[in-house]
Amino acid sequence: MEIDRPLPNPMTPEAKPYWDGLREGKLMLPKCGACGHVFWYPRVACPKCHARDIGWTQSKGRGTLHAFEIGYQSFNKAFKVPTPYVLAMVELAEGPRMLTNLIDVEPDPKKIACDMPVEVVFSKLTDEVTLPLFRPVR
């Protein structure tokens, strides 16, 4: 299958458990070993208590659509997903927000609402890369 998106580049060492998890169908989130804060994006110190003790926790893959846009053109030559497509910010039940795409939905602002419940879908691009996309919970 043709790869219709820019592959994540670079894939950085502090995010390895995240990318490894996605390949196994798990959405892993960084979690501070000192204060328990679950956060996004992966980094080497906790953004809340600043401890250098970062572990990982598996997300249930559920959340809400925090905000969205509908792309009527591609903004990157390597992004070949047919237009219109839905750009999304999802707020996971564990707290952090991520950028993603909302799929399995009509790309019409009348059919999409902020705070609608969504769930993760694992989309395999290559043997190395699986992306977390989201769809409305039915």
Partner: protein
């Protein structure tokens, strides 16, 4: 401990100007845009390039490059780059440097080939956007600022019609500015029916993309009196940053960076949110200025658009906003922040002809960097 108020009115803006040309300039290097703007602004001040000993710039060039191109050897430089408001923040940095004698004549310079991309190269770290944003189609600013906007619409019930009013108001001002790129009148319907780019934005909700330069010259208040034009006092200044990645913004509908920056500037100047006769807000998108008014405490949360929808912001209105025609209709190179400073200065000098706001004494300049990520605020006045 030093008091921020000690910096109020110690320095003045004494020269401002744009590059010789603005618009689509594929024949012009970015360095030429800088040098044109700086030489024009220094002439506006009645000074010489050899008087300049402080250089401030952001973006593609280091201040050293600007000094070299001008043929001078500055004794103070600043290259703070936190997005388009960097030049607004640099006014504050220049005031502090002038006050402490680190330099005597400060030039803040901008030159960007945003449209023609002459010599432009991306130089930022791609680890975060490359991993967590680009695979989903996120990239340029419209793919981010739309998220802020749909969340605001959800939370406060703001509408596409209301955002469109920002474009309509700003275009009315552009019609009065001969330097504005787009001057033909537009209606709310024109904005709504324009080419959709990324919902909730049509192309008329998004700033222009142009090639241009701009520069601002500052000196201490005692010396400013000897310059060519009426001095414009920097009465208050502020800066702040909250996030870069939009996922890290605590509340998408409210800019914490802007609140921090505005608070500082207002307190330093000893002014409140109703003390301005003229306002310049960084308008990369129609939803930006209303959210800034809310974050600055000038409008209630969710009600910033009323300033535009009710016509207060327009040429006949009670609180003129973005009187140069803004990034939406006058010019927007990419890092727009120098241009609102230039316009506020001209308004405070009374140089604006048909778009002159009568009786301006105090002007507010507020800009954003990135997606309301950083902010710079200035309270400018033509009296002490």
């Amino acid at each position: 401990m030093a008091n921020l108020r000690d910096l109020s009115n110690v320095a003045c803006i004494v020269g401002v100007d744009e590059s010789d040309e603005m618009g689509t300039l594929p024949h012009k290097s970015q360095l030429s845009l800088h040098v044109e703007a700086v030489t024009n602004a220094v002439r506006d001040a009645g000074l010489r390039i050899s008087d300049v000993d402080g250089i401030f710039t952001a973006g593609q060039h280091s201040p050293a490059t600007i000094g070299e191109a001008l043929g001078i050897t500055p004794r103070y430089v600043d290259g703070t780059t936190v997005g388009g408001c960097s030049f607004i923040i640099m006014v504050g940095h220049a005031v502090a440097a002038l006050h402490h004698g680190l330099c005597d004549v400060a030039v803040i310079s901008h030159g960007e080939s945003g449209r023609s991309q002459v010599g432009v190269s991306p130089r930022r770290d791609t680890a975060i956007p490359g991993q967590y944003e680009a695979p989903y189609g996120f990239g340029p600013a419209p793919t981010m600022f739309g998220l802020i906007t749909t969340r605001h619409m959800h939370r406060y019930g703001t509408t596409l019609d209301q955002w469109a009013q920002v474009a309509v108001s700003t275009r009315k001002w552009a019609a009065l500015n001969p330097k504005a790129l787009r001057r033909e009148p537009i209606t709310v319907q024109d904005v709504l029916k324009a080419r959709p780019v990324v919902y909730p934005f049509t192309v008329l909700n998004i700033c222009l993309v142009t090639d241009a330069g701009g520069a601002v010259v500052l000196t201490r208040a005692d010396r400013a009196k000897d310059c060519a034009k009426r001095p414009v006092y920097v009465r208050g200044l502020g800066e702040g940053t909250e996030h870069v990645s939009l996922t890290q913004m605590k509340d998408l509908t409210f800019s914490e960076a802007t609140r921090i920056s505005g608070d500082k500037a207002f307190r330093m100047a000893g002014v409140g949110p109703t003390d301005f006769q003229h306002i310049m807000l960084y308008d990369a998108f129609t939803s930006g200025p209303p959210i800034m008014l809310e974050s600055l405490g000038i409008a209630k949360r969710g009600e910033g658009v009323h300033f535009f929808a009710e016509g207060r912001s327009t040429p006949a209105g009670s609180l003129p906003i973005n009187t140069n025609g803004g990034g939406l209709s006058y010019t927007h190179t990419g890092m727009y922040g120098i241009f609102p400073i230039i316009e506020a200065t001209r308004q405070l000098r009374g140089e604006c002809g048909p778009r002159q706001v009568p009786g301006v004494r105090t002007s507010l300049v507020n800009g954003m960097g990135g997606m309301l990520s950083a902010a710079g605020t200035l309270v400018l006045s033509n009296e002490t």
